[in-house]
């Protein structure tokens, strides 16, 4: 029998109190894990970015377009291998509340730049040959019950009007982090309509994405591209795809920051709960600590006894919470799969939850340990009976 065994036995003295504390800790760790997973989901697009892809957009703002004529100039820059372009179309299907990402892309080059989208050859061939063709990810197709060959009418917002399209292919993600909830129509179809309706908006793209041969050249190539269009009507801002994605994430910066704060507050609250539990336990056992001191036990033994019990509760609650994160994240991810197409608990989140559980266990024992060590034997024994 060792001190640790006694510590664990002590944890079982007030089963209801210890049980409730463990459940509280588990719920807190689960909530922490879930919030961190939501935050990670926000960054999933940036995390999935390729290091060898750069994006050029209008230096003023993403909502300002760039002339199509930039394409050939950028393509000639040393180190640029392939280039494509896209436009955010911002249309909706049936109900404007049912948001999904939709773009007009260059049908000839887009999938060359994004090999993580796997589309069968028949779909690709049709996408390249039919002007009203469109493709979408599997998750989006499942959401609306679309099949290949379906006629899909998108209702425009940025580009007004009805966009009648034919779904020619449904792509799948190569990796778990690949977004399967996007919709792509052809840029030339969009542009053709704009030429007829609002000619002033035709001939522009939202941004260029280009593949470079060496990711280490990203800074140089970005500088070269931006200098080419310096003092033009549409100056460019070129950055890595990750930075580009992060600029979107930063638009939700306040929400993300709030979530981060809440996640740490949860840990703080549970620290107080466990501290209270341990303080109560220590107060009840002051006479026992005095007896143990009388028998010759020293402060290091009492530290082991109190901290061991606190750590036991912390670790047990932490493990339970981490186990609960998976079904909760699974349910949450399923419910929010259109908003967070990539949603999964990361090892890093579990590691962080584990570290916090340990830290909570340790910190919660400080006050009771100090109390147990400081009280004199005589004062402790007076509390007997």
């Amino acid at each position: 029998m060792k001190i640790l065994k006694l510590a664990i036995k002590n944890a079982g003295r007030h089963k209801l109190r210890t049980g409730l504390t463990i459940v509280g800790l588990a719920v807190a760790v689960m909530a922490f894990g879930l919030i961190r997973t939501v935050i990670d989901a926000w960054y999933a697009g940036a995390e999935a970015s390729a290091p060898d892809r750069l994006v050029s957009r209008n230096a003023i703002n993403i909502i300002f377009p760039l002339p199509l004529s930039y394409k050939d100039q950028i393509a000639k820059v040393s180190g640029v291998e392939k280039i494509t372009y896209a436009h955010w179309t911002g249309a909706y299907y049936v109900d404007p509340k049912q948001f999904f990402a939709n773009f007009a892309v260059d049908h000839n080059t887009f999938l060359d730049l994004f090999p993580e989208y796997i589309l069968d050859s028949a779909g690709l061939a049709k996408f390249k040959t039919e002007r009203t063709a469109a493709i979408c990810g599997q998750i989006l197709a499942d959401r609306f019950g679309w099949k290949v060959g379906d006629r899909v009418r998108l209702i425009g917002t940025i580009y007004p009007g009805n966009w009648d399209l034919t779904l020619v292919g449904i792509y799948k993600g190569r990796d778990k982090t690949s977004d399967e909830s996007a919709f792509f129509m052809r840029w030339d179809y969009l542009d053709e309509n704009l030429r007829a309706t609002v000619p002033g908006r035709a001939g522009y793209v939202g941004w260029y994405t280009f593949k470079i041969s060496n990711p280490n050249d990203a800074a140089r190539i970005s500088a070269v591209v931006d200098s080419m269009f310096k003092n033009s009507l549409a100056e460019t801002l070129t950055e890595t795809e990750k930075a580009f994605q992060l600029s979107f994430v930063s638009m939700s910066g306040t929400i993300i920051k709030s979530l981060q704060i809440v996640s740490y507050l949860i840990i703080g609250i549970i620290l107080l709960v466990l501290t209270n539990t341990m303080a109560m336990a220590a107060r009840e056992r002051i006479s026992e600590y005095a007896v143990m001191k009388t028998l010759g036990f020293r402060p290091k033994h009492l530290i082991g006894l109190v901290t061991g019990e606190s750590l036991f509760i912390g670790i047990f609650g932490g493990i339970l919470g981490m186990l609960l994160v998976f079904p909760m994240a699974g349910g949450f991810g399923e419910a929010m799969k259109y908003f967070f197409p990539v949603f999964g608990v990361k090892a890093q989140t579990l590691l962080l939850a584990g570290i916090f559980s340990l830290a909570v266990g340790l910190l919660a024992s400080i006050f009771p340990v100090v109390r147990a060590i400081r009280i004199s034997i005589v004062d402790g024994l007076r509390k007997v009976g």
Partner: protein
């Protein structure tokens, strides 16, 4: 040979700036192998004196020497080690750890020694055998009667074979029969095992078992 030597011992407690003297200038000694009863009314300083002998409290003035060691010279850590080696303490309310079995309670002080698990087992079984609780070693305190709990407490006090056994009103919480049995047990420890025992009591019947009786009144020996 004196096992306990007390010289000009005084102890006061302080409440704010108010000094409350509990023991006043005591000088006496306890020979090795004796059974001593410290008697006196409530508040006379019996328990305080026992605590000072046990090294769980510090005197305001004077000296306490046990088995040749001046306790004032020891740091808190040294004093804890010294207690583990030399003192077996029996409390009025037994003070067993409720989540540990009788065996584990008796084993508790042995965890501070370098004994192996097998040796500890031998010590625990011997101690529980002496107090007549070999058949109750795996019972928890709540499964024992008051008398049995106090026997376990005695076994815990003797399991390290201490120099001195100190008992603070060991029968104070027991019925008459259990109290008799505990006193018999303490007498046996003294007569058979030659253990020096100091017992605090205000019960004259308990004190009858002791060979030396010391009366305390208002912190002074009378």
């Amino acid at each position: 040979m004196a096992i306990v030597e007390i010289e000009s011992l005084s102890k006061s407690y302080f409440r704010d700036s108010l000094e409350i003297p509990v023991l006043r200038n005591l000088t006496f000694s306890i020979p090795e192998g004796e059974f001593v009863a410290l008697m006196g009314p409530s508040g006379s300083g019996k328990t305080t004196l026992l605590n000072l002998i046990a090294g769980i409290d510090r005197p305001t003035k004077g000296k306490v020497k046990v088995a040749g060691t001046d306790l004032a010279q020891l740091s808190e850590g040294e004093l804890a080690k010294w207690r583990a080696r030399h003192i077996g303490f029996i409390f009025q309310f037994y003070n067993l750890i409720p989540v540990l079995t009788a065996y584990e309670n008796v084993e508790l002080p042995l965890l501070l020694t370098s004994l192996s698990k097998v040796e500890r087992k031998k010590h625990v079984e011997t101690a529980l055998g002496i107090v007549g609780l070999s058949d109750r070693m795996h019972h928890y305190p709540r499964q024992l009667s008051g008398g049995q709990e106090q026997r376990v407490a005695i076994a815990r006090a003797i399991t390290t074979d201490p120099t001195l056994i100190l008992a603070d009103e060991p029968t104070g919480d027991l019925d008459k029969q259990s109290a008799e049995e505990i006193l018999e047990l303490l007498s046996r420890l003294n007569s058979e095992f030659k253990k020096t025992i100091v017992i605090v009591t205000h019960d004259p019947r308990v004190a009858e078992k002791a060979r030396i009786k010391k009366h305390l009144d208002k912190g002074e020996l009378s």
